[in-house]
């Protein structure tokens, strides 16, 4: 319900706000029956898709709502009661109706609909208030806001008026706020109506005011700087940003050494399923550290030999050694001369074992040579285990699977396509199965995103300033840096998605300037290749693919198919373009996707890669549908927007009250500012018909909106591909600030930089006092950083 509420609130208020701005700019005539119908269908489809269970009541409410829309449209079509299409739009885009429908409250929906229609009739029907219609719009939006707060109080918090006198400690604060605001708005409206009756000058004044504001805006839009050419300075910036970012990404990325040799515990191995360690004399062991190999979640029983009773005493039965390629701690805290480990699973790969006594010193069993492989890299055990020496978060899946690709073992992680893990495996081939090795590909691609972003921003803005600003912010985003330093798939897919949008922009610009030439065709092919890589890495690439499809189709529809005649005139061009698009966005992605499964065949799978691909496709589909579980770091899509919940990738406590923490979340300055920039860009897109804003908004929304309809457990890093667009939205917003652009960009950039420095330790895993994390960095309660 919360998801739906936020979605409806966002959708409704953006729509109403735009309607207000259009009215203010005298563009209210741009509404047509088609746009109203489209708005109606989109809004209602949006609700229906979010609802999992549709009851008969909802259907009845929807039918009544449809009847109201038909009535409104009829009134507007016939121009009865002063009805216009803009009023139909006000009705269909009202979030209160959407929410009333979704809450399955027929009475609520009907009442809301009736009230709204009455209000709209009032808005349009009385000719003498026509000149005050802008102010009436404000009242309409205010009433809608009150109704939304009321619904939030009723539906989300279960508040009601009867609680006011209950005296049971429950305070219906939001309910009171909504009712009192509505009352205040009503009183204010009545008062204004009295004033309007008396004084017609007020209207003129407000008209003059709005005209002055429009002029101001128009003059601001004329202040846009002229474009400058790409030259040596751009190269300097590009190199500088890339170098600085590479420094950040590779600094303390991970150890280049980790235990490599291992003992395989299994029935058919030389060692068998148990290992017995003799220490000669009695020692007091505090813990055992085990660096586990490729099989995770191994169950091992630990026992000590009791010389008095002459028998083995099990002190930790079936203990799960959970994480692969990192140190797993097993507390012992007992005196012993002999210790045994018995594997309770089929097999396990143990790379290294370290015994530590009470003072934290390493102890070597006297019979260590019996298991030389697990005692030959004792120096690699760090005093404190952090992300630097082992796997963190989902690396236990992705790095492990990459290792399996390298060693042609059966593949473990099959819930995402294999390309990303194949890329990770390149680093493992080069630097071995070490933290640095498995993180290398991600760090490189994260770094490569910086020049790509610069080129994209430079191309979009045609100005160095906003491009430098956007790229600078991109380097300062926390999530970008964190994901560049962890071997997961998100940075890889983000790289390809950024490339997709970049090349699509170049394609559209090329098509607009010179039609379908070799250059624009090549850009389309490259876009297709990047799309192919994106979807072969993670399915979130499909959302971006839908986004570029919308962008391309939107462009073609407006430029070449605005009428049947134009369509006919351009049919040859469109036919050729269609051919290129089929190659770029169907054949290439399909080929890359299928080919990326070839390594499965080398890993012991006897089927053909086509069958493997199809089977895996089905498996992924069912897996992602049913992956619903409670997780402390999971978050909803609407929580991503304001950076509500961070995800803790690694946390280790080291000496002197210090901790090493790695958390995935966004730079609050960039993300919160980006949210405002998004609204501004929507305004630029819808009210000023600004093409860059339109492109960026569609790109952003295409990757965000699908998450509204996904019920699986999701995490903040899934917003990453979307958040990359925020820096461009910010750049575009600041670009339109006229003479304040430079100063504003500087101040914003400095703020983002300062916050980046403040948070650097928890973004990059730098040791820092735990007090600093708790007292200085946990800005929100939901940020678990340490």
């Amino acid at each position: 319900m919360q998801s739906l509420f936020w979605a409806a609130a966002w959708y409704g208020f953006i729509a109403l706000w735009l309607a207000y701005w259009k009215k203010k700019k005298g563009m209210e005539g741009s509404y047509t029956g088609t746009s109203c119908l489209a708005g109606y269908l989109l809004g209602r489809a949006f609700v229906m898709l979010q609802l999992r269970h549709l009851g008969a009541v909802a259907v009845e409410a929807a039918v009544m709502d449809a009847g109201t829309v038909v009535l409104c449209m009829w009134l507007a079509g016939k121009q009865r009661l002063g009805f216009r299409w803009e009023y139909v739009w006000l009705y269909v885009s009202n979030p209160v109706i959407l929410l009333s429908l979704s809450s399955l409250r027929k009475t609520g929906a009907v009442t809301a609909a009736l009230l709204l229609v009455l209000l709209i009739i009032k808005l349009g029907g009385i000719g003498r208030w026509e000149r005050h219609s802008l102010e009436l719009y404000r009242y309409y939006i205010s009433f809608t806001a009150c109704a939304m707060i009321y619904l939030a109080a009723r539906l989300l918090l279960g508040q009601s008026g009867s609680q006011c006198t209950a005296g049971d400690g429950s305070y219906p604060m939001l309910w009171i706020l909504s009712v009192s605001l509505a009352a205040a708005t009503a009183v204010s409206l009545l008062h204004r109506m009295t004033v309007w009756r008396k004084d017609s000058v007020m209207g003129k004044a407000s008209e003059q005011e709005s005209a002055a504001e429009s002029e101001q805006e128009a003059s601001a839009s004329q202040c846009l700087p002229v474009s400058d050419s790409f030259n040596g300075r751009d190269i300097v910036f590009l190199v500088l940003f890339t170098a600085v970012y590479a420094g950040l990404a590779f600094f303390r990325l991970g150890s280049t050494a980790a235990p490599q040799s291992y003992v395989k515990l299994s029935e058919d191995s030389d060692v068998g399923r148990q290992m017995i360690f003799r220490f000669g004399e009695e020692i007091e062991l505090s813990r055992i550290e085990i660096f586990l190999g490729v099989e995770s979640g191994r169950k091992i029983s630990f026992s000590c030999y009791d010389y008095d009773a002459e028998k083995w005493e099990v002190f930790d039965s079936r203990r799960e050694i959970a994480s692969v390629f990192t140190w797993n701690t097993v507390p012992v805290n007992r005196k012993t001369r002999m210790l045994a480990m018995v594997l309770m699973d089929e097999e396990a790969y143990i790379h290294e074992i370290v015994f530590l006594d009470r003072s934290g010193r390493q102890v070597l069993p006297v019979n260590w040579q019996d298991y030389a492989e697990v005692f030959d890299e004792q120096t690699l055990y760090p005093r404190y285990t952090t992300y630097y020496e082992g796997t963190m978060f989902d690396e236990v899946y992705h790095a492990r699977t990459a290792y399996e690709f390298v060693h042609r073992l059966p593949v473990y992680e099959i819930t995402h396509p294999p390309l990303g893990k194949l890329l990770i495996s390149i680093g493992i081939r080069l630097f071995g199965m070490t933290p640095f090795g498995w993180r290398l590909a991600c760090a490189l691609l994260g770094t490569a995103m910086v020049p790509l972003m610069y080129l994209f921003a430079r191309r979009i803005f045609r100005q160095r300033g906003p491009a430098v600003f956007s790229t600078g912010l991109f380097c300062l985003d926390f999530m970008h840096l964190t994901l560049s330093r962890i071997a997961t798939l998100d940075i890889i897919v983000a790289f390809f998605v950024l490339g997709m949008f970049f090349f699509m922009y170049l394609s559209i610009a090329g098509l607009r300037q010179e039609g379908l030439t070799l250059r624009s065709g090549l850009c389309l092919l490259l876009c297709g290749l990047f799309s192919a890589c994106a979807v072969s890495t993670k399915w979130t690439g499909f959302y971006a693919l839908a986004g570029i499809a919308v962008l391309l189709l939107g462009y073609l529809l407006t430029e070449y198919a605005s009428s049947w005649q134009r369509l006919m005139e351009n049919r040859r061009f469109l036919g050729r373009l269609c051919g290129v698009c089929v190659i770029s966005f169907v054949l290439i992605p399909a080929a890359v996707y299928f080919l990326s499964y070839i390594p499965y065949m080398w890993c012991g799978n006897p089927d053909s890669f086509i069958k493997i691909t199809i089977d895996n496709f089905k498996l992924m589909l069912s897996y992602h549908e049913r992956t619903v579980f409670a997780h402390p770091y999971s978050s909803e899509w609407y929580e991503w927007l304001w950076n509500k919940r961070s995800l803790l990738d690694a946390l280790s406590f080291v000496a002197d009250g210090k901790a090493v923490s790695v958390a995935t979340f966004g730079n609050p300055v960039i993300w919160w500012g980006g949210l405002a920039a998004l609204l501004h860009n929507i305004y630029l897109w819808r009210c000023r018909k600004e093409k860059v804003a339109a492109y960026l908004c569609i790109a952003y929304l295409s990757m965000l909106l699908p998450w509204m309809f996904i019920y699986r457990t999701v995490f903040i890093y899934q917003y990453f591909i979307c958040s990359n667009i925020l820096v461009l939205l910010l750049g575009n917003s600041f670009y339109h600030m006229g003479r304040y652009t430079k100063r504003a960009m500087l101040c914003f950039g400095l703020a983002a930089g300062a916050v980046f420095l403040l948070f650097y330790p928890v973004v990059a895993g730098y040791p820092v006092r735990i007090d600093y994390i708790n007292q200085g960095l946990e800005w929100l309660r939901s940020w678990g950083l340490g």
Partner: protein, 467 residues
């Protein structure tokens, strides 16, 4: 005030608080009718409206003080016995034994001004009344707080006049101060908070007067205010910082040596008066108990109210919106966010009330709107600093006191450390800045006036209707 208190005691009205509340309500209605009639007849002047507001502000303070016993909604009163360690014990020690406390345990570490004044008043009120119990001896000390609270209102009106606030702005500022609930709460309680607010405001007022006219009268008054203010509570030192800056500013402007000598002489006299008066008790406690002048009782034994485990940003920068919408009342056991806690305690103290939820909710929401406008006004004043004069000083004093509050709560990270009663003067500064905002006719005048109206109405109704 003493007469009223005695009258209530004699007539037994103290046991019939509903009658007192009815009287308050009736007075309010009477004044309202008077204002409406004056308005209809075109006779409503600023002076008349101001008189009504101040009068009703005083009625609210006195009414609240009269119907609220000293044990209700108090802080650290302790056992009503000379052997205790709370405010009551402090007063009773002075009354019964005629000497200052021999320990600094509990509340006995406090500066003695309020207790000395309370003892004096209590003796005057109870001395002529037979059969007074220790409870009444302690209870009568509320008169000092109430008097200070009323004087604060009158002094605020003088400050507004000095600053030449225009008609509307002045009325708004004085209304907000008149009906600021924490003024009733501190005025109806045994404790030095109300006196502290009064001394802070007087110090601010006389510093401004001193800036205008560097006369002996002003400097001696200022010295006495600081002396007694510090004797009341050492945190008056925060305001002294403000005054010190003004002193230095004036010194900077002195050009000839003779003037400089006179000026320095005045400062020296001022120090000679204020320092011994303000610090003698602190020095005594330092000598007797080794107590630091900035001493406050250790609360580590009450870990439930510790809020230092929240980040600084959560505590000081962001507003805890969820808390704001969950309950109107502050909860020292769970709250950690200073801005929200200050707003809530400014309106309701650290207490909950039995009343229809509409009143506290509307009071809180209007309070939030007023705080929002205060922040805008603060920014506007800072932006137009060159032409703001005394208002810039008000803004500076506001920021200084708020910063001191942050420092204090950072040093003592406990729920109850964030109580607004320590910085009620912030409310006065905020009201003055809001008055300025209204005078400047900036955007949102309608909203500001609506919020102020709701605030004043809810404040009066709530503290008249509580059970």
């Amino acid at each position: 005030m003493m007469g009223c208190y005695r009258l209530v005691r004699i007539t037994g009205l103290e046991n019939q608080p509903e009658r007192i509340k009815a009287g308050m309500l009736f007075t309010g209605l009477l004044l309202l009718v008077y204002l409406l009639v004056s308005y209809r007849r075109g006779m409503l002047t600023e002076k008349r409206a101001m008189t009504c507001i101040i009068l009703y502000g005083i009625v609210m303070r006195m009414g609240y003080m009269l119907y609220t016993g000293c044990e209700l909604r108090g802080h650290d009163l302790g056992e009503i016995s000379a052997d205790g360690y709370g405010h009551a014990a402090y007063l009773l020690k002075l009354l019964e034994k005629g000497r200052l406390p021999e320990s600094n345990a509990g509340q006995l570490y406090q500066q003695p001004f309020f207790y000395l004044a309370g003892t004096l008043i209590s003796r005057c009120v109870n001395g002529t009344m037979g059969g007074s119990t220790p409870y009444y001896f302690v209870d009568a000390a509320k008169i000092v707080s109430c008097f200070a609270s009323c004087m604060t209102l009158l002094a605020a009106e003088r400050v507004c006049s000095l600053f030449q606030l225009e008609e509307k702005g002045k009325l708004l500022a004085v209304s907000l101060i008149a009906f600021l609930p924490d003024m009733y709460l501190t005025g109806g309680r045994v404790g030095c908070d109300a006196c502290h607010t009064l001394f802070c405001l007087l110090a601010f007022y006389y510093t401004c007067r001193w800036y205008q006219e560097q006369s002996w009268k002003n400097i001696i008054l200022l010295a006495l205010i600081y002396g007694f203010g510090m004797m009341n509570r050492t945190s008056m030192g925060v305001m002294a910082l403000f005054t010190a800056v003004i002193f230095l500013l004036l010194l900077w402007r002195v050009e000839n040596q003779k003037e400089l000598a006179v000026q320095l002489g005045k400062y020296a006299v001022s120090a000679l008066i204020s320092l011994p008066l303000g610090l003698w008790y602190a020095v005594r406690n330092a000598m007797l108990f080794g107590q630091s002048p900035a001493y406050v009782p250790d609360l580590t034994s009450v870990p439930e109210i510790f809020c230092g485990d929240y980040s600084l940003v959560q505590r000081y920068v962001f507003w805890d919106i969820r808390n704001l919408f969950s309950t109107p009342y502050a909860n020292p056991w769970e709250d950690y966010n200073l801005p929200v806690y200050l707003i809530k305690t400014a309106l309701f103290g650290e207490f909950t009330y039995e009343i229809n939820d509409w009143f506290p909710a509307l009071l809180l929401f209007s309070g939030v709107v007023l705080v929002f406008f205060t922040l805008i006004s603060l920014c506007t004043i800072i932006k137009n600093r060159k032409k703001e004069g005394f208002f810039l000083w008000t803004a500076a004093a506001f920021l200084l006191v708020y910063a001191s509050m942050i420092g204090f709560t950072h040093k003592h990270p406990y729920g109850c450390s964030m109580d607004f009663r320590y910085v009620v003067i912030l409310g006065v500064f905020a009201a003055i800045m809001l008055g300025r905002y209204l005078d400047e006719k900036k955007r949102g005048e309608r909203y500001l006036l609506t919020a102020s109206g709701v605030f004043c109405a809810c404040s009066c109704l709530m503290y008249t209707l509580i059970r």
